[in-house]
Amino acid sequence: MSSATARKPRPKYLSLPAILFQIRLPLPAWVSILHRVSGALLVFPFVAWLLYLLDASLASQAGFDHIRHYLGLPLAKLGLLLFAWAYCHHLCAGIRFLLLDLNKGIELGAARRSSLIVLIVSLALTAWIGVMIW
């Protein structure tokens, strides 16, 4: 290690704007942080929302009709779309992480390719679900 490197203040803490705008995250890093973001969103509020939908829709014919009408509202559709993305991204990225745990695709090139595939496939699945909703 050169003396110039050794004199730099370490550890270096980064602000959120620096992470977002100054540093170019490699694709696997985007998949990783989005895995966290989508996971947190799924825990709250999406699981609570889905349990509410399941509860009301199974309760009675009237409840089912109410939920069907409610899910037709534009804001509810937007919520469903965001949920679909969070679920698809978390699922696809999770499968990638399981494969990485099994030492599959851990070379740099393969890892970058698989992270691009995760981002594209989850967005494509979200778009497909969006088409089904609208």
Partner: protein, 114 residues
């Protein structure tokens, strides 16, 4: 390999493994539900109710939510350990997380066996 022996510490291996096993359980359930909903009859109240009236579907759904709670506990705890530095606040958020996930499981049982 870390050979230190400190009573009660698992060095995260058990949580790490549990998170992955529960992930696989949830993938399987996701595929089953997708096939049932898209491959079945046009969705109406009767079809929807009958789907969740079956014993295996209730058990599978409860297993899914239980897996989700365990999986999410490991994940949320990791996030809180990474970003929340004050011990008191982190403990409070961890307790809230446990209460939330426990409520999810209880709510699921209530909805399925009503």
């Amino acid at each position: 390999m870390n050979k230190r022996v400190i009573t009660g510490a698992h060095y995260g291996t058990r949580d790490w493994l549990a998170q992955r096993i529960t992930a696989v359980i949830m993938v399987v359930y996701t595929v089953i539900v997708f096939v049932c909903v898209l491959g079945g009859k046009p969705m109406g109240y009767a079809v929807w109710r009958d789907l969740f009236a079956q014993g295996w579907m209730r058990v599978a759904t409860l297993l899914f939510v239980a897996s989700l709670a365990w999986h999410a506990w490991v994940g949320v705890r990791d996030i809180l350990m990474d970003y929340i530095k004050p011990d008191g606040l982190r403990l409070a958020l961890q307790v809230l997380t446990i209460l939330l996930l426990g409520a999810y499981v209880a709510w699921t049982i209530q909805v399925l066996w009503r």
